[in-house]
Amino acid sequence: MELRGDVLLAILGMALVTYACRAGGYAVLRVVRPPPFVDAMLRHLPGCLFVAYCAPPLVAGAAPAWIGAVAVIAVQLALRNIGLAICAGVATVWLAQRALG
């Protein structure tokens, strides 16, 4: 039942900025209309963020990671379920590592 000071601080900070996004976004954006460029950037942010996250590990993970990514996309397209897509990806990487390694 351990709660360290540095971890607590990180968690509180994360919670604070998350609430600022949830509630602050509503409070600010309903009074102030952001300039068109910022508005367009906000719409592009999620996709670019997840691509930027995935690029280095996919390149580092080589063939098994790419095969896993294809499996994730296939399952997500077919079943539209993130949980099942994650499971399919992990299982595929596991199999690919065994087959190729």
């Binding site: 590990p57 994650i86 992990v90």
Partner: protein, 241 residues
Amino acid sequence: MSDARGRVTFTRVGVWRGGRASLPLWLGMLPFGLVIGVLADAKGLSFVETMLMSAIVFAGAAQLLTLDLWADPAPILAAIIATLVVNIRMAPMGAALAPWLDKLRGWRLWGTLATLVDHSFALAAAEQRAGGRDAGYLLGVGLGLWVAWIVTVAIGHMLGSAVRVPPGHPLFFASVAAFVSILVPLWRGPRVDLAPWLVAGLVALAVHRAGLPVPLPLLAGTFAGAALGAWIELRGRGVRA
């Protein structure tokens, strides 16, 4: 549609209906929550720390990303910046639900906003478009998902403590898998997304190769790609106008 102009209410019945609407989503959250719990344990977070984070941050993608860069001592600033960048997408959600939220006051407004996540936004937006007027629905979906999140992360952490996961295990592919699957519905076609996504990935790789620490590759890639996307979009609009 005509009903949408009627009075917005906030009832217990609406909250319950939202809670029930969240049930089918529990199945989809189960592996996601389990992965977060197992990874948190692998990164050395205690049960209490893991549950506190899941309860008050309550944002799967942000938690996954920060756990990925977690170290001992905790990377406080990096965790906060990464969380902010991942969750900034929530900012326009509340504004989009303004027809409901503008009618709420006090805890009903600020408490409902605290539970806002991608799925509750999607369900509530659909309900609103269909003429729904009970804003309790949004809180109900959010609370239902919150309970599911807490339960699945707790189970994941307990599993993780029972079975040690060595570094390099395929399980760590789960975070990449989660973000790849989130990307699938975000794809709006090559004309809109191809160039920004390519630039985001390439810039992130280059900054990563240059040896700069997390979350700088992520930030540089994200903002380079999003800026390009916005520029292309505005330029296209200008030509047509």
